[in-house]
Symmetry: D2
Subunit: 345 residues, 4 copies
């Protein structure tokens, strides 16, 4: 008997949701002006502006790394410093993209519970590093919503962070690869955790939540846009047949797919988190669950057919379990049962 | 009465061909390992190896600019020189991408009829610029197949160019954004204008010829691959849901879509070229037609509903007419008629 | 009998002039604040401001390549284009420094007699390359005074060039590695060929004309200064014991060494040029002489003990003869005699 | 009555030692081939090879930032990671130079007592960050001898660090801005803390210890040299009149000035350290003394005429007192007395 594979590795393993694929197919007729001057891409500003309740300039790209690195490169000179949590995706999982795109900006990596930063930590770091011609120049703060450990910043936390950042001349970027998941958990309006809180630029992710490959860089401060457009082209991230990415994003927003998909994934994660109990490393506020399994626990789950990533060094015994938008519910139930059946460590 | 728009601006305005869209949809089931470890991407090497009749390593990216710049960055140090035609896409239409990706490599731009380089011109340029610690170091040659003016390199021309390049320590890159179009014109085997001629790396384009967004970087020299993979990730060009790009490329190759689509576009261009007669700037050897129209000729065509780009400065009176794979045949006939009806200038 | 070596390779082979060495020694007492806050460096703005008859901000660096590349990097974004003569030092003898410092700006290399650019050529090039998001963005013009072929721009030529440049949004940089030589030839006021003509930033060279290692980057537009200072530090060109460079520059200006040294070198070059007669490639307007010698002529001169560089490919038969500020007059006379004695080719 | 200024800010405030200035003046005769092909520069390899007891390739540059950043850029690809102490000069005082020179390498900053790293900390960090295509690639370790807090690595500490580094494929760079000071404290042979311990490249500083402006990059692994030379030129750090820097370094080595000057500075620092007593932050193993003074202590010393830098944020109450090679002994005595007279905090 073959053990069935049940995959909880990443929301990147998911399919595209049928509605977004249908929207893409629906855009596939007629010769259309290339490089973003098509009718789909031209509607992005309005669609995202409606979502956020504010005028925005929005640009489609195909990956989250591109969105983050391009956004950050518009915020910092080559001699700038980007403050971020030491677990941030930009620090550990993008092969140094922010430094590549910015021409060498330096990451200033900070600590914080659940991979979130606090205003106090940021203020202390800024105060501890006096600025002169010998130092990199503080230029940007990057926060992840949800955080790399699946926690969500509350609006008031972001207000405080942005206040400290702006007071020191930093612009603020949000990595929203799982923005919809955080938003669904918080239940607030999208503006509450973006421009109303002080966010200047958002990487608005859709790929992990049901798109084929579609992310938007959303500028709440339009002065940065011209520089962005040239950097995007120069990096090969201006898609010639832009309509196919734009169509995905429009469907995502206009049919509330962002909410439906994220709610489903979040719900699964919550159930997994409940089953994990004491093994949880932190609260489950999006679609990721971080657990302490030990070598034995990991081996048992894997033997039972569950696929997932170690979190950090293999020897640490930690694991990340991700629920995708299209996760098989029976697999979730099986995982919950398996977690419950692990011997107490 | 409204004039109908007939678009000959670019093959980037085209739709995706139904078979490639269907292949993409067919790949959309089940959780699949991300970042290129899926079953579709894993077949790319074999599919492209079969096409070229040689072992290759191939990598999917979403845009031609990314393919070119990433390929070139693997061939040149930051202090390197890249030799190319002064009309090359990498020199004039990628916003400086090769310099960005390579960390500042310098373009050495050469002249040549129909935007093709000759071995003699390359040799003369290399001889005229003695190399020392004060100069950039010759590192790569980049040729475009078809050229930026729609001409195709013959196998023996490439053999000579690569011989000169390799003798001086240069690696050779081919920008194949319209590789299928050139190949169909030449009627030779893909190997004859690539690895057999000495090409080290090829940007194998599919987007202009029927894909949604799919290009492959094909290495005939596998020693460069590890560096490439890290650069691709760092640039945000490693797609998480890689299966969707790979599926397009597999369909393109396995169902001979590359040939069918390119033959159709080439045929249209040939007809337009015949209609243009004396106005032609050069031979029509792919799907692009370059013509001298003058201000008056351009105005007349545009008034009749034809859309196309000026070539070079507006005042030069030149135009580019591109036939896409899905071009409406009636529009082509109308364009041929309109060209024939222009007053002799 | 040994043939005596008589060196006409470069003004870089020269000694430092005794007055500048003495000034350096005179600065060598007492603990002095580092990194440019010393009393010598603090006087640079005033000294160069007096020289140019205008308020300036001036910064010392140790090499001409650093001066040029840092100046240009303040004028152009990474996606910018720098227009220059194809023989310019920044294009051919600085190992790609402008691209390194700017993060990949592209050189747009133009033709022009005696390695000088004309306003008409610049205007034509700008007109021939329409700007869009797909192209590099015209950002700077760099002119060399004296030019790479030893010719001097007249004030009115610079006025025209700067007018065209500024009208297109370009800033203008002057590479003044041999600024003093050009100025002595022209006999005009320093302002006439700099800020009055429209130059925004000048690399003011002293090393070739008597310093040990001292160049100044002179900003006539102070808005660019903060960026420059950070780039200089980041590049390792902010000298800790800055007083020793500043002291050289102050002596150079305050004791009119720039004029005395350049007049001497220019005079020698003029004599060599007169002796070269028909072999001259162009006018002698600084301290360099470019001659057509042929393989035979070069061999004869070298056999007689003269050292000099080929100009371009060895096979071209061209040579560059440079008179240094401290050139031995007897060697100059010997060279003149040897040139006169060459068989007519 | 005016209070006399007594400066303990930095060894960069020092004069050049007379013997090195004399050597520079002695090199100032005759036309000499430029860019390092002169007789002085040509002797550098042998002189430094003799000093270290091993064949080396050595290159002169004018600043320590240039030495460090150029050395590191030869060791790491743009997607590389450089491990260093979080207080390292390259991390905090070079305006991001390593990222600029390497094309964006990422600093991995570690903790360690007295600004020294331990092999265990390095090993733990490497183990905690599994490497994949998504991460920067560990490429180099940089250690400072003496450390940024004035402590000296023992030979056996370096052996262990280099063993861990090499086992993980990292090359090892040593920032030796105060190498002579550390060496004099340790009393060992130069090889014991460099190539015998596993160091691959050393920034060998002389400027802080008596030169005008002279540092050498010393390669114990010659395979890296060609890349270095091109990077140096491209960065504007190849001095045309190289003899003047080489002459300083030759005198420094051949007349044992490195030892004499460092011994004097170290001796002063030891006396200051003894006077500081309980206020010391760590051992005094070079020419720097780090003390806890509090706001009141700092104010009292400054009122008495002593100049020095805060260490870290002003509010932390810490200070750095540096003894230069030419420090006035009476000032040292006065400082010791003033420290002794401070009220117990």
């Amino acid at each position: 008997m073959t053990t069935q594979t049940m995959r909880f590795m990443s929301d990147n393993t998911a399919t595209a949701c049928p509605e977004m694929l249908a929207a893409l197919a629906a855009a596939n007729h007629g010769l259309e002006v290339a490089y973003g001057d098509d009718r789909w891409t031209q509607r992005l500003d309005a669609a995202l502006g409606g979502f956020f309740g504010a005028p925005v300039r929005a640009f489609a790209v195909a990956t989250g790394t591109a969105a983050n690195a391009l956004a950050l490169a518009t915020l910092t000179p080559p001699y700038g410093a980007i403050f971020a949590h030491h677990e941030a995706h930009i620090a550990s999982d993008e092969c140094g993209a922010p430094a590549f795109y910015s021409g060498g900006a330096q990451l200033m990596l900070l600590e914080g519970e659940h991979a979130k930063l606090s205003a106090a930590t940021l203020a202390a770091s800024l105060e501890a590093h006096p600025v002169s011609v010998h130092t990199v120049q503080p230029a940007a703060l990057s926060v992840s919503q949800a955080s790399e450990l699946g926690a969500a910043y509350r609006p008031e936390e972001l207000v405080e962070l942005c206040r400290v950042a702006h007071a020191h001349g930093l612009k603020v970027h949000m990595d929203g690869a799982r923005f919809a998941n955080a938003l669904c958990f918080l239940g607030c309006h999208p503006s509450d955790v973006t421009w109303r809180a002080g966010i200047d630029v958002l990487s608005f992710g859709a790929t992990k939540n049901g798109a084929l490959a579609a992310e938007a860089v959303v500028f709440f401060d339009p002065s940065l846009v011209r520089d962005f457009e040239l950097r995007r082209k120069r990096a090969g991230h201006l898609l010639s047949k832009s309509r196919f990415v734009a169509a995905q994003l429009l469907a995502y927003l206009e049919h509330d797919l962002w909410r439906r998909n994220a709610m489903r994934a979040n719900g699964f994660a919550r159930r997994i988190g409940a089953a994990a109990g004491q093994r949880l490393l932190g609260p489950v506020e999006a679609n990721e669950v971080f657990v302490r399994l030990g070598a034995d626990g990991k081996a048992r789950l894997r033997a039972a057919g569950f696929e997932f990533y170690d979190w950090g060094a293999e020897s640490a015994g930690l694991a990340r379990l991700v629920a995708a938008w299209d996760q098989n519910e029976a697999h979730v139930e099986a995982l919950c049962a398996a977690l419950g059946a692990l011997p107490v460590s």
